[in-house]
């Protein structure tokens, strides 16, 4: 799960990116990918202007996988001009119910 680290000089920028990624919605569940817990981590290489997003999908055979990945890329590159984004799509750890934030659970009425 993406978390805030005060010792990391990019922390505020990472938080900003996380907030930006709340705009990316899961097309089936209609909740954003941050509250769904799909984003595992964000790494920023400021000198090279590169952003690396480590994320997963709610199922490994998700037919909307490509769309969600391209939405993440488009969203970051649209909001942070000059930055390029790489998506590292991972299978482990497998996404589960526990990844969903409290806000996500509220939206899903769990």
């Amino acid at each position: 799960m993406a978390s805030f680290d005060i010792t990391d000089p990019n922390s505020f920028f990472k938080e900003q990116i996380i907030e930006t990624l709340r705009l990316v919605m899961d097309p089936e569940l209609h909740i954003n990918i941050i509250d769904l817990g799909l984003v595992y981590g964000i790494e920023i290489d400021s000198p090279k202007k590169q952003i690396q997003v480590q994320m997963t999908l709610s199922s490994s055979y998700c037919p909307m996988g490509e769309s969600i990945v391209s939405a993440v890329k488009n969203c970051i590159e649209g909001h942070y001009e000059g930055y390029t984004t790489n998506i590292d799509l991972v299978l482990e750890p497998v996404w589960s119910y526990n990844n969903i934030s409290d806000e996500g659970k509220r939206l899903l009425r769990i």
Binding site: M25, H30, S67, I68, K73, G78, I100
Partner: protein
Amino acid sequence: MSGIKQNPGLYKIVVTHYVTAAFCFSALSVMMLCSVKAFTGHYFHPQILAITHMAALGWGTMIILGASYQLIPVVLETELYSERLAWISFALFMPGLIALVYSFWVFVPGIHMQCGAILLLLAVVLFTVNVYLTAKKKKQQTIQEDFIFSACICLCLTIALGAALVFNFTLSIFPQDHLHFLKLHAHMGLIGWFLLMLIGVSSKLVPMFLVSSYQSTKLLTYSYYLIVGALLYFLVDSYLFGLSLRTYLIFAIGTAGLTCYFIFILKCLRSRLRKHIDLPMMNSFLSFILLKIATLTVPFIIYFYLRNNPVTIRFSMIYGEFMLMGWITALILGQTFKTLPFIVWVKHYEHLTGKFKTPMPADLFSNNLLKAQTVSYLIFCVTFMPGCYLLFMPLIYVGVAALMITAMLYLSNIFIVLFHKTKTYGKL
């Protein structure tokens, strides 16, 4: 991780199958209107044979083939082996279907019927080869793969036996009665093809659409072996000895397999994260109820058959109607609006997501039309099936009229999805 990409070629194949199936469904409802009286007689009737093959091949199989080209790569987590094979299969399937259905309708078991059967056989063999070569690319084997591949084999065997039966009209290949093989042909198709394929695909899709946390495939494994075991036992036993008291045992084995699948679906439903169940999924759950009703008629068919009671024909008709026009139709009517909007949405919006606010896949079809379609289909179910059992013509007429309305609404909604114009609601 999923790397399935939508490409224009695949999109055209899938959409062509969906549209053709929707037209076949409309044609089917018209054919049923023209042969209402035939539903009060024996199932071995030219018009009933034509309608059954239009329903099983033009409607059920056509849409499953189309959906398979989109979903099998998803389920098997690899890309489709060949789009060209898919097109050739479609090009053989369509004339084969038309020739076969027309020949049954006018009942001329000559060269047209034989050519139709051969074309259909070639088409499904190509489809099976395509699925096999797609699955071969993948290292890890899943129970869904077993379901899907067994279903494809059964489809080929069903059509091969069907083709042999067509030739048997003029060449007398089989020493036994035509009806003896008809039940083997029908069950290889209904259980071997439709049931195995729909369990294989739905066991991946239902948990995915419900976002279910239930992951175990143990129940599906039991289901697979019990259903395949029951089917093989039925085919051999029924071929050698016909229906007997053993058929009850076979039915029990098959029902146990089906029950495992239902428990799997129930567990997915209970552990779902998505609490709201939308209308397409409601239609799918209705289909499971109709499948259960169809299953419940089987002991009556066996019971009356063993007592040489002609009521067995009525129950056989009801069984076939609940399977084809109930379970399979309800599932398609629902799942079309889960799968097609996604396919079209990806084409229109994949490059725009993350940049602009876009409609969601569920916004691509008219929910009101889907509601009306569901109501008219329910009217069909509660009038047509009882009407056929009671031999009450007004009920059959109401049912067929409701089915025609269902088909029109379904077709209209398909076109609403397909003719969707890309729109955005401002920048993100």
